[in-house]
């Protein structure tokens, strides 16, 4: 800039000589000023990353006088979220002194970091992840088509060995906690995700943990 300014000054000093010689040249400085002004404006106002959407299918609501028997899920895990805290238990929930004579369910705590939740899910859903790896290889070497890949992957996700997840939230859980959890589940290739209501007994267990 300093040099350009100097040039302008020089032009002033020997104005007459310049005018004759540089008559065809246009002073581009205002145009450049404007260009950079616009450039700065667009750089500052534009938002680049278009927001993305994450889809989640909720279970349909039962009809008013329809009684749904409690689903027997094998290989299920239930996550309970509270404010930035996450607990889980595997299998069914048993209260203390239940008629089946099973030991009462105890909550385990984990965290949202890669060593907590992600590792846990990767271990529990290892069959699906392993199958997916095989599929990825097949897709890369073009042994299977995109559509077949999708179909096979969905089959694996719905298979018996695949982990099924229930999500329960208490009144302190934030949307961020919920979405972080669902995100982790998607990373772990879990097909069955069901957000359901929290039971009173579970809430008590959570309170006791805090």
């Amino acid at each position: 800039m300093a040099e350009i300014a100097e040039g302008g000054g020089g032009g002033h000093d020997k104005g007459k000589k310049r005018a004759k010689k540089a008559s065809t040249k246009v002073d581009m400085t205002p145009m450049v000023d404007l260009a950079f002004l616009l450039l700065t404006f667009f750089v500052l106002t534009s938002t680049f990353s278009k927001p993305k959407v994450m889809s989640l299918v909720y279970p349909a609501k039962p009809k008013p006088n329809e009684v749904i028997p409690p689903a027997k899920v094998n290989n299920g895990i239930t996550f309970l979220i509270s404010e930035d805290k996450i607990y889980y238990y595997q299998g069914q929930f048993y209260t203390l002194g239940n008629p089946d004579g099973k030991p009462a369910t105890e909550l385990k705590e984990t965290n949202f970091g890669p060593t907590g939740l992600r590792k846990l899910l990767a271990d529990l859903n290892s069959t699906v992840l392993k199958n997916k790896e095989g599929l990825d290889k097949q897709l890369k070497s073009k042994q299977i088509q995109d559509t077949t890949y999708e179909r096979m992957l969905n089959e694996f996700k719905g298979s018996k060995e695949a982990l099924k997840v229930l999500i329960k939230t208490d009144d302190k859980a934030t949307c961020k906690n919920f979405i972080d959890l669902v995100d982790e589940l998607k990373i772990a290739q879990i097909g069955v995700i069901a957000p359901v209501d929290l039971l009173k007994s579970e809430q008590d267990l959570m309170k006791a943990k805090q």
């Binding site: 100097e6 400085t29 995100d183």
Partner: protein
């Protein structure tokens, strides 16, 4: 003579490449930019690894930090139809001008009774406007009606758009034109607020919902 020429030429730089570059960048940013829309609330969405982009025909429900609810519908024709149906149901009259203004608005969040006043406001006033959002409690669930009529209106516009595209010989996919339901929740909002909205959707048998998230790098 050469002594005079040298000091004359050296201080002036040829700016053409710089100008070229500047304009190239300006053009790029102008075309690539999508501006922040003038929403009545600022919502900070959580992040996820999902890479699905937002579909065309959407009904958007925004939930802000305090749990206030705002609704938006993407197509202007659908917005008009939705408002006319709502106006008939709640017996709140709107002038032709107000309906026109409503069609061009972004998200709105107020009760049906406040809406005529709300439409008359400017964008800045709407941000300041003290509202509880769209009522969605069990006794006065206006959100449910907005979603119900919004869905019908969006289905209708989706259908006309589909027919238009078919006439143009584009061989469109009907599912691309069906309305999608999107929730834009603030990360700090308590999940119960979102759950209330989700249950309203589920009451209407609309179970396939989408959450807006900002993109995040997937772990390797």
């Amino acid at each position: 003579m050469p002594k005079i020429k040298v000091p004359k030429h050296s201080p002036s730089i040829d700016m053409t490449p710089m100008v070229d570059l500047a304009f190239l960048l300006v053009t790029f940013f102008m075309l690539a930019a999508n501006f922040r829309s003038n929403e009545p609330v600022d919502v900070e969405t959580p992040s996820s690894i999902s890479d699905k982009i937002i579909p065309e025909n959407v009904l958007l429900v925004t939930i802000d930090k305090g749990g206030r609810i705002f609704v938006n519908l993407s197509h202007t024709e659908a917005r008009k139809e939705m408002l006319q149906n709502m106006s008939a149901k709640y017996k709140v009259a709107f002038t032709e001008k107000q309906i026109e203004a409503f069609a061009g608005m972004s998200s709105f969040g107020c009760s049906m009774q406040e809406l005529p006043k709300y439409i008359e406001m400017s964008g800045e006033e709407r941000k300041q406007f003290n509202t509880i959002g769209i009522p969605a409690d069990t006794t006065n669930n206006q959100l449910k009606d907005w979603i119900f009529y919004g869905n019908i209106a969006a289905l209708n516009t989706g259908k006309t758009k589909y027919e238009e595209a078919s006439l143009n010989g584009l061989n469109p996919e009907i599912n691309d034109f069906k309305p999608k339901f999107i929730l834009k929740v603030d990360g700090k909002a308590v999940y119960l607020h979102a759950q209330n909205v989700i249950n309203t959707f589920r009451d209407l048998n609309l179970n396939n919902l989408n959450f807006i998230t900002s993109a995040e790098q997937a772990p390797q």
